[in-house]
Structure formats: C-alpha cells, structure tokens
C-alpha cells in the first residue's frame, strides 16, 4: 500500500476515500484555525488603535466589492473547468482554468492597488478656523500630522494636504489588517501558481485528463476554501468596518 494512484475511480482504501483528498480536508480544517486566530486577533483589536486612520477613513466598499465579485466568479469558473474536464473536454478545461487563474490574478491586482492606496493616503483639510474636517480627525491625527497641517496652513493656503496613510506599523488597525489580508493574499497567490501549473501541465499529453481529475479536484477544493475565507474577511473587516451599526 502506498500513495494511491488516481487512475481508477475506486480507491483501494479502508473507507474508499482517496488519501490525498482526506489530507486536503485535514489541511483545510487546520487552515480554518489559522484564519480563525488571525480574524480573532483582528476583532480583539478592532477600534483599539491609538491613532488613525480607521477603516472608515480608507475603505472603498464599491472597489473591494468588485474584487470580491471577481473572486466569487473565479470559483464558478473553477467549477466549470472541473466539469469540462470530467466531461472529457480538455479545451474547455483549459479555457476555464485560465480564466480562473486570471480572475485570481485580478483579485491580487486589486489587493496590491488597495495596499498601495492605503499607504499613500492623504486627506484634504481646509485651513479655516475650526475646520469641521480637522475637528473630526483631530483625535486620529498623530502630532506629526497635526504640526504638518499647521505648517501648511501657516503658508496661507486654503486647504492643506495632510499625509494620512497606513502601513503595518502605523497603528493596530494597520497591523491586523495587513497581516490578515496579506496572509489571505499569500494563499491566493499559492492557488494561482497551482492553477497555472495545472493549466500548463495540461499541454503535456495525458498529464491532465478525465481519469486524473483528482489533481484538479484538490486544487478546486483549495480554491473554494480560499474564496470562502475571503467572504468572511470581506464581511468582518470591510463591511463591519464601515457600517457603524456593527
């Protein structure tokens, strides 16, 4: 007995389940605890930052909704790729597999853009006496940002552009946000590499076929899992971060 071959549909195991599939489920169970711990950390520190910015100052729900939608669609595309393969259409498999990977990369592109956007964020604060924007942000601005605002306004301009970006070092929100979404992004990156490997591998004769669907099945399982985790992150971090009621 050894690692199973996946040429036959009947598995020579005690339960009839494939070894690798069982391993994948065990891994996903473990990964659930991994993300649960990161999300728990995020929630424990929610609203505990000493300085800004806060979620409400940075998030753009419409933009992230688009990337979330793309990632969800990639799961559908993954299902279609698997279905095409089991029906014996290698061409269909390739088309859907590539589209899944491209959607995954699109999601990652959005994430890179968003991360950059957050780090270079600026706020415009009018220089009038008791500017409402300044009053609103006063408790969130660091002393350096405040003195920057005053220095700019001392030059007699109407509106100051104050640096209000966020890196993992800026505050607890930055720390927990970047580490949580960063590790999710790393999972997506690994998934994209896996999907592309299968895509390119499929050009080798017989390497990817309906009989060997398990290779794709496992990648799909992983991909759907990473998707589901994102839905949780999108809800807990983005939606709950912006809407006060939560």
């Amino acid at each position: 007995m050894s690692e199973p071959n996946n040429h036959s549909t009947h598995e020579d195991t005690t339960t009839g389940l494939n070894h690798r599939k069982l391993l994948m489920w065990a891994f996903l169970g473990s990964d659930c605890m991994f993300f649960a711990s990161l999300i728990a950390t995020y929630l424990v520190y929610k609203g505990k930052s000493v300085t800004g910015p806060d979620p409400i100052d940075l998030f753009s729900i419409p933009v992230t909704s688009v990337s979330t939608f793309v990632l969800l669609m990639s799961s559908m595309s993954m299902v279609l790729a698997y279905a095409a393969l089991t029906k014996g259409s290698l061409k269909g498999f390739r088309v859907w597999m590539l589209s899944t990977a491209i959607m995954g990369m699109t999601f990652l592109g959005f994430q890179v853009f968003e991360f950059r956007d957050f780090t270079v964020n600026e706020v415009k604060i009018s220089c009038e006496e008791n500017s409402p924007k300044y009053i609103e942000l006063e408790s969130k601005l660091s002393s350096k940002q405040k003195s920057d605002y005053k220095k700019q306004c001392a030059d007699g301009i109407e509106e100051a552009h104050v640096e209000f970006g966020m890196t993992p070092r800026t505050n607890l929100f930055g720390t927990t946000f970047f580490v949580l979404t960063g590790f999710h992004g790393a999972h997506v990156t690994l998934g994209v590499i896996w999907l592309l490997s299968l895509f390119f591998y499929s050009f080798k004769r017989g390497a990817v076929s309906a009989e060997r669907h398990l290779d794709v099945d496992l990648a799909a399982l992983y991909w759907h899992f990473v998707d589901i985790v994102w839905i949780v992150i999108f809800t807990v971090v983005y939606l709950f971060g912006v809407y006060e009621g939560f």
Binding site: T14, H19, G29, L38, T41, V50
Partner: protein, 602 residues
C-alpha cells in the same frame, strides 16, 4: 517518467548513511525520531542539571542570571517540543502501521519530510547557543518580554523560527497519521477494534491539526513585531500582551493532551499484556480520551487565573478544569480495573506502567488543586507548579515512554533487553524522581518562585532544594543505567521472537524486527485484540515471508525540502539572501517531489 528538469537518478538501494537519509520506511523513520529525540532529551536534562546545581543552596553563583534564564527557557522548550513530542512521534511512526495492519503510512515521503523538518527545527533552536545566546523568556514566551524593546539579540528570533519549523513538521506528521488511521486499516479493523494506542494517537493528531495553527499565528504576530515593527504586542500602540497569553494557551492546553494521550495509549497496551486480561472498559477508555480531547479546548484560562479576567471567567474555567479531571480519573480506574485479579508479570515495562499510574495520579491531584482559582493565586509561578508539571510530564509522559521503549524494544530491535538491569534502572529512576520533584511541592508552598536563579538563606528553602538537587544526580545515574541497558542490548542482546510477551495486538503477529513490508499478507481482523483471540482459538497461521511486495521507493526530495527549510530558517534571522536561497531549495524539493512517481516503473 519524471518530467521535472532535474534528472537526479533515484536512490534504489542506497547503503550506509544514504540509506537513512533517503529512507521512507516508517520503521526507520520511527527509529530516527526516537534516537534524535532521546539525544535532545539528554541535552534538556543537562540543562536541568545545571539549574539544579545553581539552586543546590542559597546564594550560589555557579551560573549567572542571564545564562540561568536561557537554561530554563531551553530546558522547557527542548523537553516539550524536541523530546517528548518527537518521542511520541517515534511510537506513532513505528507502531501505527503495524497496529492497523498496513505496510506503511499513507504518505511515506511526507513522513520522511516530517522527520527531517523536525531535525531542522531542533538544530535551529540549539544553534542559538552559539549565535549570540539562547532564548531567555521562558517556554511560553510571554509578551512583552519577548518584544524587541525588552529583548535585544537573536535568542527569541531563534525560538520563534524553530517553533515555526517544528510546527510544519508536526502538522505534516499529524495529517499523515490521520489519513493513515482512517484509510489504511486492514479489512475488519473497525474503529471499535482499533488498539488503544492507535486511538489515542488519532485523537492526538486531530488535536495537533487544530491547535498548532493557533500558536503559528501567535508566533507570526510576535515575529512581525520583532522583524517588521508591527504593533501586535506593543502596549504604547494599544497592543495587549494578554492576547499572547490567550493564543498561547489556546494552543498550550491541548498541547498538554498532545503530550499525555500517547503516553496513556502506551500504558493501555502494556497493562493488559502483562495482566493477561483485556483492557478493562475499552469503550470507556476511548470515550474518555475523546472527551479529554474535546474538553481540552475549554480550559485554557486556568493558566491565567491571576491575570484578572474577572470572577465570571475564572469561575467558568475553574469548573471546566475540575470537570476535565473526570475523564482522566475514569481512565485511572480503568487501568486499575485491568490490573484487578489479573495474573501480573512484574517485568520492566509493567513496572513503568504502574509507576505511571502512581505518579500521574499525584500530578493529576495537584492539577485539580490548581483548578481552584483562589488557591491557584497562591500557587501561580511557584515551585508548586514546577512540581505539578514534572509529575504529569516527567512522571506521566516520559515514564510511559520509557516503559514503551522497553515494551517494544524486542519489536524495534529484534533483541531482548536485560531484565535485571531494566528493573534496577526503573527503581532508581522512580525513587530519584520522587526525591527530585516531591520536595518542590514544599518549596513551592513555602513561596519559592519558579525561574529565580538564586535565593537567600533566610527563606528556609535550602534543605528541600538540596534534596531536589541530590535527586537529579540520582536521576542521571538511573538514566545511565537505562542507556547502558538499551545500547548494550541493542548490540548484543538475546535474539527476540516475534511475540516474546504473549501479547495482544497485531504488531506481535510478525517477526522482530518486522520485515520491510511488515505483513506478507494483509491480515483480516475479526476481533478486538485480534492476535490474542486468534492465539486462544488456535487460528494463527505460520508466518510467511514474501519477496514480491511493492513498496514505495526511497527519495532524496523530502530531505532536500527540509534542508531548504533549515537554511531558510537561519536566513530569516541572519541574512535575507540566505533565506531566499533556502526557500528556493525547498521549492525545488517540493516541486521535484510532486513530479516524482511513488514508484518508478520497472
């Protein structure tokens, strides 16, 4: 066949050291685990002896305080992660396939990878001694003393990275054993016939899979704070050190059961064999194991009674902690029930198993004392806790492991150990253990804090500390007897038969040591304690040998993937280019591995 560009021909019949480096035989990997873990156990023991020398009397200056901090941190980390856990893994590896009637684990190469990665983690941790000093913040590394502000130097970095690498090893092994136990049982080997050791290992593996990611995250957070300036445990930025305590103990308490359940499994194998009776209440033992595994998640804050979580939290965790003592107590009565009216053979393994029941019960009782939040406030961070942990880990896990080594020694090596010397070693060990650790209850209740490097004579702690130190010397002597017995018997012991104990489980139905393929014909299981029942019914058949069993072939890649992790581990701490080099080696190893067929075509 392999489409990977690196054309390194596969090791088909490697010899010498290459045989060990490329092996994917679960039995050889088990021996590698056992021998490595035992060497690390000796290192951890030497660290303990140095500490005991320093504490022998008041106001001694044998060791300076900084080195003392490093010693207790390394002692705890080594014993838990590098000695007891991998010794458990040694038994998992060697025994689980044999007990369930399989020829190997589900993923033999992943198994080799687990071992080499464990070794990489052990090397990284111990290298810290030579690269600027070992970690010094205690084995549970509380924030914020592990933070950059309070702990410059690389000690904590080595601690973090080595635990991450060890986590990879443990997780890979746990996945492997879960799949093996679910999927590779011989026909008829249902879960209600599964040997108790395999059952307890199964629960342990599930605990590992769920608990390790939690400490992985805690360590990632600490690592990011130290390496990249994040704020997880930085109080000036609003970070909360208590978060570390929660994450650590959410892992840490299940970890306690990861350490003790395999030991309970071992004892549950030894007692029935030498009582000539089936285990008393098999289903109850299994069920209480499952309940322990489940409830182990609901008690972690009993390590935090003095943090100030409030009366409600303290009461809840006090109650759950008292409740978890019940399934443990149930097991103890099951073991006693097994002994009751049995025809006992008091040989070395049996003595260790009985010794386990005695000392583990004492440790369990002091454990229940800690569950009273109010009295725990007096005991927190005193030697009373040190006494408790050593009664359950040393007098629990380790004593069972030593007993297990004796019990399966004929199976592992094909030779018998020296019974007289074994018994002498046991009595020396058992008495020395009481002399060492029992006085710690007194010094603890007299207020001696753990982790202090010296104390004044006016406290009146001198006497019992001296006794403990004398006990450690005796312990060292008993371990010398143990090692001498094992080594000399391994080399020149009497040849062992396949079933020298007239035992009950499947591993005894084959020759000692087992052939490479374990079972020439995969057995069909009809009973719990199948081998025993079949012996009673005269249904055993003459063992046949086979030279026509296809086994997975050796491979270089698991070793190379682990080697990459070793290099990357040092690189993350010391030099980024080296880290990239290491990560690339691991990538190549994993990629080549995934393209390498399990067996090359003939």
């Amino acid at each position: 066949m392999t489409s990977f560009p690196l054309q390194i021909s596969r090791p088909i019949h490697p010899t010498g050291i290459w045989n060990w480096i490329t092996t994917i035989d679960h039995k050889k990997i088990g021996i590698l685990y056992g021998v490595s873990a035992f060497i690390l156990f000796i290192i951890g023991g030497i660290e303990a002896m140095l500490m005991r020398a320093q504490l022998a009397s008041s106001n001694l200056k044998i060791i300076d305080p900084e080195l003392y901090n490093q010693l207790f941190t390394m002692h705890g980390t080594t014993m838990i992660f590098l000695a007891i856990m991998p010794m458990g893994a040694a038994f998992f590896n060697y025994l689980i396939p044999l007990q369930i009637g399989a020829r190997d684990v589900a993923f033999p190469r992943l198994n080799a990878f687990s071992y080499w990665t464990f070794l990489a983690g052990a090397i990284i941790l111990n290298a810290s001694w030579f690269l600027g000093g070992a970690p010094n913040a205690g084995w549970f590394g509380y924030a914020p003393i592990t933070g950059k502000a309070y702990n410059v130097g690389h000690g904590i970095d080595f601690w973090i990275i080595s635990l991450q690498v060890l986590g990879i090893a443990s997780l890979a092994a746990a996945f492997n054993f879960i799949v093996t136990i679910i999927n590779m049982r011989a026909p008829g080997m249902t879960f209600s016939r599964l040997p108790v050791f395999t059952w307890m290992s199964f629960i342990t593996a599930i605990l590992l899979v769920l608990a390790f990611p939690v400490i992985t995250v805690a360590l990632i957070e600490l690592q990011f704070d130290r390496f990249y300036g994040t704020n997880f445990f930085i109080t000036s930025a609003g970070g909360n050190p208590i978060l570390w305590q929660h994450l650590f103990w959410v892992f840490g308490h299940p970890e306690v059961y990861i350490l003790i359940l395999p030991a309970m499994g071992i004892v549950s194998e030894i007692l029935p064999t030498f009582s000539k009776k089936p285990l008393f209440g098999y289903p109850v033992v299994i069920l209480s194991g499952i309940i322990i595994g489940f409830m182990g998640w609901m008690v972690w804050s009993h390590h935090m009674f003095t943090v100030g979580l409030g009366p409600v939290a303290n009461s809840v965790f006090a109650l759950t902690t008292m409740a978890i003592a019940i399934p443990t107590g149930v097991k103890i009565f099951n073991w006693l029930g097994t002994l009751w009216k049995g025809s006992l053979t008091l040989n070395t393994p049996m003595l260790y198993a009985i010794g386990f029941i005695l000392t583990f019960t004492i440790g369990g009782i002091s454990g229940v004392m800690h569950s009273q939040a109010a009295s725990d406030a007096q005991q927190q961070d005193t030697y009373f806790i040190v006494a408790h942990i050593h009664y359950v880990l040393f007098g629990g896990s380790l004593i069972a492991i030593l007993g297990g080594i004796y019990y399966w020694f004929p199976k592992f090596t094909g030779r018998m150990y020296d019974e007289k010397m074994g018994k002498l070693g046991f009595y020396a060990f058992f008495i020395a253990m009481q002399i060492t650790f029992f006085p710690m209850h007194f010094t603890g209740l007299n207020g001696m804090p753990r982790r202090i490097y010296t104390y004044g004579s006016e406290y009146g702690w001198d006497f019992w500390n001296l006794i403990s130190t004398i006990g450690v010397l005796l312990l060292a002597i008993s371990m010398v007897i143990f090692i001498y017995n094992i080594v000399s018997s391994w080399i020149g012991g009497e040849k062992a038969s396949g079933d020298p104990w007239d035992a009950r489980t499947l591993e005894w139905s084959i020759s000692s040591p087992p052939p490479e393929y374990n079972f020439a014909v995969i057995p069909t299981i009809e009973y719990r304690d199948d081998w025993w029942e079949k012996k009673m019914l005269g249904k055993t058949s003459e063992e046949i040998t086979s030279d026509d069993v296809h086994l997975p072939q050796p491979s270089y890649w698991p070793f190379i993937a682990s080697l990459g992790l070793l290099i990357a581990g040092f690189g993350i701490i010391l030099s980024i280019p080296v880290a990239i080099l290491g990560a690339s080696i691991t990538m190549i190893g994993v990629y080549a591995w995934s393209f390498e067929p399990v067996n090359d075509p003939h």
